[in-house]
Assembly symmetry: D2
Homo-oligomer: 311 residues x 4
């Protein structure tokens, strides 16, 4: 299918359920997709950071896209991350994702290699020129250690290189600069501006975001869908209340002991533990070298779910 231009609403970055052996757990992935579709989401983003794309092998990445595309059957647009260090490697992931049926790919700035704005622009131009589906930029400084400048995004939007932006930088001022910049350029139409900051989706929508890509929507898709609907109906205070409820639930990402594990182990471990406790996936295991949550930490995840009425 062609992705909507712009893409609006809630587009969760889909967790990748794994078996205890670290393989993609296809039945659980299907269950998670059903859970999200039933929750009313407006699109799916596979192979993002929350999906543990950085931990999946090429074969596993391809399996995730194929499984998702086949299961969705065109019901909803499917975006796929093409996460790798540099242009030649990203080109391969993008081609693979498109061949597997993804409707668009989502691409970060180069990483590992030191980057320069001119190199970032070149990177996106080369990829868009070769890629059969639309390319969205993925701004995630915590992972790639570069912030995409708003001016660069707008230049690439104006040149038809980028079809959208997924902004996980947490910088709402810069996000707004893209939103208003897109609106001010008459030639730019259908560009999708999506926020990845799950704690301020209401604020991002209020400044003009088209949609949101919240990791926590794996756990509570209905909540984010309600938030989106409340916003669109003009009920700002209702949207804020729903967002605050989701912020409280988001506390589950900190259950992991920081002396024992990093933030990703804790956050992704908590999302998967929550999905397991809710009966959506068969096994909460995360990929290596992430450290698993302890039983006590999982119990704390359960308390968050209970507090949110999700158990």
């Amino acid at each position: 299918m062609t992705i909507p231009a712009p893409l609006t609403g809630v587009v969760p970055p889909v967790c990748t359920p794994l078996t205890p052996e670290g393989e993609v757990d296809v039945p659980s992935l299907l269950g998670l997709l059903d859970h999200l579709v039933t929750g009313g989401v407006h699109g799916l983003f596979v192979l993002g950071s929350t999906s543990e794309a950085a931990y999946l092998t090429d074969r596993q990445r391809r399996l995730v896209v194929e499984t998702t595309v086949a299961h969705l059957g065109g019901q909803l647009p499917v975006l796929a991350g093409a996460i790798d260090m540099t242009t030649p490697r990203v080109l391969e992931h993008a081609a693979s994702a498109a061949a597997a049926g993804a409707d668009a790919v989502v691409v970060t700035a180069p990483f590992y290699a030191r980057t320069h704005p001119a190199e970032i622009a070149r990177h996106y131009r080369r990829i868009a020129a070769a890629c059969p589906v639309p390319v969205l930029a993925y701004d995630i400084p915590s992972a790639v250690h570069t912030k995409l400048p708003a001016g660069l995004v707008l230049e690439l939007a104006a040149d038809g290189v980028l079809a959208g932006l997924k902004d996980s930088s947490g910088d709402l001022g810069g996000f707004r600069e893209v939103v208003t910049g897109v609106r001010a350029r008459p030639g730019v139409t259908g560009f999708s501006v999506l926020t990845g900051s799950e704690l301020i989706v209401d604020a991002a929508l209020a400044v003009g975001a088209d949609g949101a890509v919240p990791g926590l929507a794996n756990v509570d898709p209905h909540g984010y869908v309600r938030l989106d609907r409340l916003h669109r109906s003009g009920d700002r205070d209702g949207a804020r209340a729903e967002q605050e409820r989701l912020c409280a639930l988001f506390g589950l990402v900190d259950v992991g002991d920081p002396a024992r594990m990093g933030g990703a182990s804790s956050a992704i471990g908590a999302f998967k533990a929550a999905l397991h406790l809710r009966g959506v996936i068969a096994c909460p295991v995360t990929a290596e070298p992430q450290v698993p949550l302890s039983p006590d930490e999982v119990a704390r995840v359960g308390k968050y779910l209970a507090g949110a009425g999700l158990l």
Copy 2:
């Protein structure tokens, strides 16, 4: 072959010559290998950062290792980088490099994903357990945004997980802590401590390094081999003079205009331009999205070579 324990001397991180189309230029790679072997080096490190490993596809990476191993025919030990974000992806690169004949693999801390010391330890333990050849740690904070703590390296050395360290951190104090720590642990034998800091190889050898992995040795292998020989013969002042000559030559990495490109484009571009000017490789092109040097910038590389008597 089994790599020496410890590995000593000069082990250049081998540049990867490319064709104008971005393919591995095998004849040029063979020429470069001959240039290095003739220069007297003691081992070869393919698929490191200077090799543009971050830019090569899996197929290209495999071709580089196979070509190098076949051409060397066991004359010298061949180390191969296995550079990727996380454990499952590194495991595939390591298996591929070992299958292609690499004598050891060189592995960084995880990147893109946020890391924690416990996760780094887990990463190396999993990889060493599964990898058929020895594993060396690659400490390169400029790329992975984490510094390997000396204590962690020593713990993994003592447990037989790591066979060595390639330190590109520039932190000679931390490097020394590993050198003296290895010596102080009676159970740790044959651990290789190699410096990647091409400007202070004499100092690293003086504090006890086993060897060096200098990118500039692509351009002037004889110089680093002389430096190593002078050091081993006890001629510290001679080693220093040779190092200072090489430091002056190293100025070529800065020929690229910082308004137009990043440091990697400039440095790797300059190494390749120098190899091209010296007649070692057929084409100085670097991988995308690196920005090419201008003719003027290449001319400045030539002046550095002439100044060093290398043209």
Copy 3:
């Protein structure tokens, strides 16, 4: 006077006009204060980052507070920054500001010295214990290279150590955590949560900020006062439109050539050039070692003012 608890509305960080010799230009400071009071602001913050507090000597800092307090005559609350590296030095600034009549002081985490959360907490506890006026925390990671954790701010609020927060971190998610955390703690009353992010004041108010401390309000106080009034009247779309107008005006901070100067030289230089062009201050000079704007760059500031109807 006692500062309102919480302090609400627009509290500009007041620029410090200087003479060509680098002395505080008292008549211009009085003119600027009148300009702000006439603009309808709800309080004044002197000796903040926008005030070039980092560049003023102790004598100049004291002169600024005394001049402001005397001129205001209790009309509006006056907050004063007490910006220095560590507890003993901040204690002296805080005592001086309080003696000069400031109604509250605003204090960052320690800097220069490496800090630890336990040391930050200790810092604020010692200062609040000794300081005769309320203490607000100033979260400005771009200057002090530490982010104040929301949990730490809430703990210090609950213990009566802090009277408020001025958040210049740009992290609206963390800001919201303080806003909702304060509301959720029954014992915490009157705590002021203020945003320093001039591009998202509408969003910060919508998530529950008490007020804003926007540097750009020096140039256009009426704009921010309108924004605040529109928000409080429930006209969210009007507030957004006003904010977007101010965002466009904010573009003036980038007039300085990045090859020739840093971001502070450009931003503070532009604020002062705008105040000079509007006839509010006598001289646009900034403190050493900031690089002055060129005539062309000043002309571009003028175009921004004209575009906003401020000339």
Copy 4:
């Protein structure tokens, strides 16, 4: 006195003994000065980072310089840090230190304010123009979050702005670039290149450093003086052995529990605990907001001293 040009040998950054009330403990300071002079050091650096300059009030800073200068009576050169955020504030500290008798001042790049190389150059030029004594640059990126580029230091040396460099960056490659650059510029004479990296003083001397400013020399001045003498006598292996002994002793800086305090609390706390255990100073207290070492941690400092034969 006029400082030697270049200044050579061991120039400890003198700890500032404090009373339990946080005042400068003058008798202990005199005792520490005697301890260092007796140890054979070649100069003294007061008000550096190890001196807790960032924590001392202006009055305390002046007292330290006056006390030291009066006690030394011209026996040894006295350098004084003039540590503050920007030019106008540093100018006051430099004038105060010179008036109190310091033979030279040591100045960092601006901090808190964001900096640009052009602003750093301007900063040093203004200070040197106004300061009655020579100015040395203090390169300490861990504190000021900027690295002084070697090219900038050399330009300021060639223009007679800087009389020397105290390099606490840990980057021996960049340090060497200054050493060899100074030597290559015929007009630059008497420029002092000093290392602040206490773990690699032997290596820094071998690459051409004039001297060292090691914090650990407070605890063991004789050791660093021996190291310096061994190096100058051409006994490189002897110098290395002495350095390795000092590196082992340096382990005492890590006695503090990282869950309870930051690195500065631990390191400065350990230096002072060692001086107290050795009977040099009356009280090991550190300035606020540093966290004190526990009795157990102090006991571990004692073990390091015993191991080094210093108790």
